[in-house]
Amino acid sequence: MRGPDSLGRGWWRRNVWGLIALLPALALMLAAAGYSDLEFWQRGRPAAVLPATDGVADFAGVRVRVAELAPATDLKRSGGRPLALPENVTAWRVVLDVEGPADPEQVPYCEISVEDTAGNLYGDQPLELSLVSAPLGNCKPDNSPVPAASGRHQTVALFVTPRGVDIAAVRVSFGTVDQTRYVRFDRS
């Protein structure tokens, strides 16, 4: 800190504008740092891709639509005996129509989940249905319950929720193709 300059101004007077400019600069620095963190956090959350108005989503090299979303009341064990679920559990079946490359190897794996009206997510193949004989719902033609002709096939996934819970949407993600987005079929 030197003494007064040739105009008689002290240190504070000489640097007053610099000191004033420090405040918005500090605010800008904090905002930039916060924005960077927020943007990083948002990038970590996959974004939803919605289907076209006809209900078909063209994504990850396949065309997908929800053919069925309904409570599953006819589940059977491996031996063919009916599966009785606890009173307060509802099982759901999701059937997707998948149209993709004729070569089954080129059809990407998918992961299907359902979302309830409160935003909770439920996964395929729950413990509660471990006794059920069901193909893996992974979008591959090998697991299709109907013959996969002309590159069209179906994939089936089973879920459980507490009784009284309503399903709001089906989510389909193709993690081997795109980890940043998923297809979201809202239940109409």
């Binding site: 606890p86 307060n88 559990v89 989940s113 309830d116 935003g119 909770n120 997510l121 439920y122 996964g123 729950p126 413990l127 509660e128 879920f159 459980v160 929720t161 507490p162 819970v165």
Partner: protein, 189 residues
């Protein structure tokens, strides 16, 4: 006068560096900064971690476990906790369970018995809770100061919530000498 001023500047710079060093060494270390966020609770109350809920319903200790026809003894004691656990908003499993004693030593659940409820393979759906018992083998002297730790990641528990529930065992030396059995996981739905 000029030399004195320059010496003053140098002293100021040295003082600033020393202050920076002091602040840096006084700060918590990297692992401490990234430690889990504890969610504390007591036996009988539900603890809500980020992705799961957990309640310790009962705690007991014994000198041995009975698994079928096999008796598993120990040089310490077995701590057995009956848990009620559930997923909060997405399919979740509890993959880390341990007990920390008053000295900060951490004892993980035993691998001498299969404990599906807390080893990551037991994926629960929201709203559909499970209960079951877990076992942890600890030195007798540590049994009186244990806190149960639960998390959903088996490898890295940092920067995420961890349920911490104090286990009310007063004296490890007073544990039952009789072998005790473990309740397997079962759905509460």
């Amino acid at each position: 006068m000029k030399l004195l001023r320059r010496l003053g500047y140098a002293a100021f710079v040295l003082a600033a560096l020393a202050a920076g060093q002091a602040i840096q060494s006084a700060e918590p270390n990297f692992n401490h900064n990234l430690r889990p966020f504890p969610v504390a609770g007591e036996v009988g109350t539900e603890v809500a971690a980020r992705t799961f809920t957990a309640q310790v319903q009962l705690v007991r200790c014994a000198a041995a476990l009975r698994i079928g026809d096999t008796i598993l003894d120990t040089q310490g004691v077995w701590i057995v906790a009956k848990l009620r656990v559930g997923a909060r908003f997405k399919p979740t499993s509890i993959a880390y369970a341990a007990a920390r004693d008053g000295a900060g030593r951490v004892y993980q659940t035993t691998d001498r018995v299969t404990l599906n409820l807390v080893t990551g393979g037991h994926v629960m759906q929201p709203g559909l809770p499970y209960e079951g018992e877990i076992a942890i083998e600890v030195p007798t002297a540590a049994a009186g100061s244990l806190t149960l730790l639960l998390a959903d990641n088996s490898i890295d528990q940092r920067m995420d919530s961890m349920a911490e529930i104090r286990l009310p065992i007063s004296d490890g030396a007073a544990c039952s000498a009789e072998p005790t059995t473990l309740l397997a996981p079962k759905a509460l739905s």
